[in-house]
């Protein structure tokens, strides 16, 4: 019974900690849709895989979100036709390479400025490499969930066929024959609400970027509700899983695995994945282990944790196929181990 209480407490604390950031991410994502001309933004993104991954990694400065808030923004970037490398770079590095996380890491390790430097550098390296790897896959079907892949394909088709046109219907079928959710009274034809996620719906309102309208606010709010419903559910599931694992495999057990430079890194990576703590506060969490673990293993926690944790996996399933998440997880984990072990040996 105690375990159940503990699990419930952990579940609630994870959820309460993450929800504001998810909301922030959804707000940013919706703001991207309605207040920024995404087409221009996406058009300006570098197409070169390396530059794209670097750009995406550093985009955390524009959208300071933690690992719960980055998923909706990354999803938005993908659906808007942003290069995969940009989206992956953002997904992996934005939770670390942003001013809030840099400040909190500095505050937690004021006498070890290297922690901030190495955390950023390693995150950047890993995000860039993984971003480049994913850019090799031009076709989104093997990467993404079918629904999302379809949206991406639509978007890409739009980009190529309507580079000059202002508006093209995404589907030749009359709207009455289509399934889905539509908004009526938004012009001569119903507007597909699902397309809000693709950004297509923004097009009729492009001229309205400069002005405030009730319709835009309503669409903005509708998008927030839709994304919160989709991602919030995944967050609840992810938090529940993380809480259950923490109860079944207590932290002490994980920590006791770290009995050497390699195993301590592995233990801290495992711990990072399990505790699912937000990147804005994880530096303070890991500070408690500063005296008993190597600096390399602390770095492993700080680098790997924001990239992949249990509740983030829940969110990422809404974008990627499980196999792809496994690749993401494995390559990031291997790179984290290589980099932090090298740090342990050579610094």
């Amino acid at each position: 019974m105690t375990e159940l209480y503990t699990a419930f407490t952990l579940f609630l604390s994870l959820l309460v900690e993450a929800l504001p950031f998810l909301l922030l991410g959804v707000l940013l994502s919706s703001a991207l849709l309605f207040f920024i001309d995404e087409r221009q933004l996406v058009a300006k993104m570098p197409r070169n895989p390396l530059l794209g991954a670097l750009f995406g990694s550093c985009a955390g400065f524009l959208f300071p979100v933690c690992e719960c808030g980055n998923v909706p923004v990354a999803r938005r970037l993908l659906t808007q036709g942003a290069p995969t490398s940009v989206a992956i770079g953002f997904l992996l590095a934005a939770p670390t390479i942003n001013p809030i996380v840099m400040w909190s890491t500095w505050a937690a390790f004021p006498h070890q400025p290297g922690m901030v430097f190495w955390r950023i550098l390693f995150s950047l390296i890993i995000a860039t490499i993984v971003g480049c790897v994913f850019s090799f896959q031009k076709d989104p079907w093997p990467l993404m969930q079918p629904d999302l892949a379809k949206r991406v394909m639509n978007q890409r088709a739009n980009q190529t066929s309507t580079s000059s046109a202002l508006w093209t219907k995404p589907d030749p079928l009359p709207t009455l024959l289509q399934s889905g959710t539509f908004l009526l009274g938004e012009g001569s034809e119903p507007v597909r609400l699902d397309d809000a996620a693709t950004g297509a719906v923004a097009l009729p309102y492009q001229k309205a970027f400069q002005r405030f309208s009730r319709h835009r606010v309503r669409l903005f709010l509708n998008n927030i509700v839709q994304e919160m419903r989709e991602l919030g559910a995944m967050l609840v599931l992810g938090s529940a899983t993380a809480a259950a694992i923490q109860v079944l495999a207590p932290r002490e057990l994980v920590l006791s695995l770290g009995q050497g430079p390699v195993t301590s890194i592995l233990a801290m990576m495992l711990l990072a994945a399990l505790v699912s703590i937000c990147s804005t506060v994880d530096a303070f969490f890991v500070l408690a282990f500063a005296s008993t673990f190597t600096t390399g293993s602390l770095l492993a926690f700080l680098v790997f944790g924001p990239m992949i944790d249990i509740k983030a996996i829940g969110l990422m399933i809404s974008i990627f196929k499980p196999k792809v998440i496994l690749y993401l997880f494995a390559i990031a984990a291997q790179l984290t181990l290589i980099l932090t072990l090298s740090y342990s040996y050579f610094f």
């Binding site: 090799f136 600096t295 610094f347």
Partner: protein, 517 residues
Amino acid sequence: MTIPNRYPVLYPIDRISLGLMTLFSVVIGLLILGGSFCTGERCLFHTGPRVNQFSWENRVIDYRDQAFILGFNRPMDQESVEENIKITIPDQPDVKNPLPGKTSWAGRRMAYTLDFPAPYGTKYRFELENAQERFINQQQEGAAIQPYQAEFRTPDRALAYIGLEGAERGRLVIFDFTTQEKRIITPEQLVVTEFRIDRDRAQIVFSAVERNSTREGILDQQIYRVNTGLTREKSGFQTGKDIGKIDLILDNEGYNNLKFDLSEDGELLAVQRVNKEDPADFGLWVIQDGKQPKPLKNEPGGLFLIAPDNETIASTQGEGIAILSLEPAAQPLDFLAQFGMVLGFSPDGRSAAMVDFNKNNPDLLYTRSLYLVNNQGVQEKIFDTQGSILDCQFQAKGEQMFCLMTNLVEDTEYIEQPYIAMVDVREKKVAPLITLPKYQDINISLAPDGLGLLFDQIRTDPTNEQESFLKTSSGEALLDGQIWLLIPPRSLPEQGQGTSPQLEELPFVGFQPRWFP
């Protein structure tokens, strides 16, 4: 009709991901096994723990450096580290454990606090090997540390005094014990009356009179600064055109400069001045960071000292001691009515040695009491004496003081017999170290490392009326003076046991000897 397979079995993402994962697995394997690829004692790379911080590495440490920090990149077996730390003096291999101390741990960092300040003029070598890592729950012996070695040194042992013989007479002389070099650093035309050495050793602030001045004698003194040529960082006298360069800091225009004091950081100079036209215009002036001098406009006072915080001045005022801020015309920050004299501050500035003349206590009339007063206002009496308490200097850790005092000897007439005593501040015990033949303007100076105490013994010539500047406080002309070095014991000698500290007459003729900090 066959349905074409829409997608190949392995997509590009599968191929590159699997390929990279294999490659990374190989790299991880190499990293893990790399420590085992050894030929003899040399391995491909070291996988054991290492020292990643030694706060005294290649540094010059002085009396303020009482502890070093040793940081490791792994949790360490603390016992094995403590057992394997080795500090030696390369030039004196026979000296075992020259810097004893205590260790304390905070996670992966160890602090080593010295029992006493590191003796000056010495190069030390720090070595650590064979210490092992230890993780939580680690049962087996951990990997051995990568051998670590670093050096650090203390500044040269050096002193300055005002010469009294030949070409040195009235001039500042510096002697570097470590390199055995001696230099006269003030010009012949200036007669130095008092001086203070800057904490960084590079400069000395002194008061001096033009040798050919015939007006008001010592009252004509001005305050100067001279570059010494010594530094903390380098051994021996440095060369350069600035060495021996004199700057006038405060002239005597309109005012006579009486006494001065220099703060420990060298940024604040306090001078007691009196208006030549209006003797009622008398008080302290301060010069901060090289700015224009400004009068503090406080109540007139007597003896004064700048506190170690470099921001307050303790000055005798009327029947007590006022703690003054540097704000002109400000009320004193505190007033200690009970005390009549402040002798010195502990290096951390938390306590001060003060003298109570017991004017309000009929039972102790004509008795003086030495007190330790801390910054919380707690006053602890150390001892009473019928004689005088003239000067006290704290040892760097603030646990001991060396005081110049006198005993009242009753013979055909009362004679004050000077002696130097060691005072244990914690135990409040006093142990006389040496009795001096005659009290006459004795100055003492305790070495920053606490290993030597300098004092002077002057001879006067009462018949010499030509001497205008080099005089005792009673106005007798200085003939010559010996400078003595007293090497006190490390701890207070037990009562009844022989107290025979080493005493050595130094080959200098002068007075006011002072150690370089």
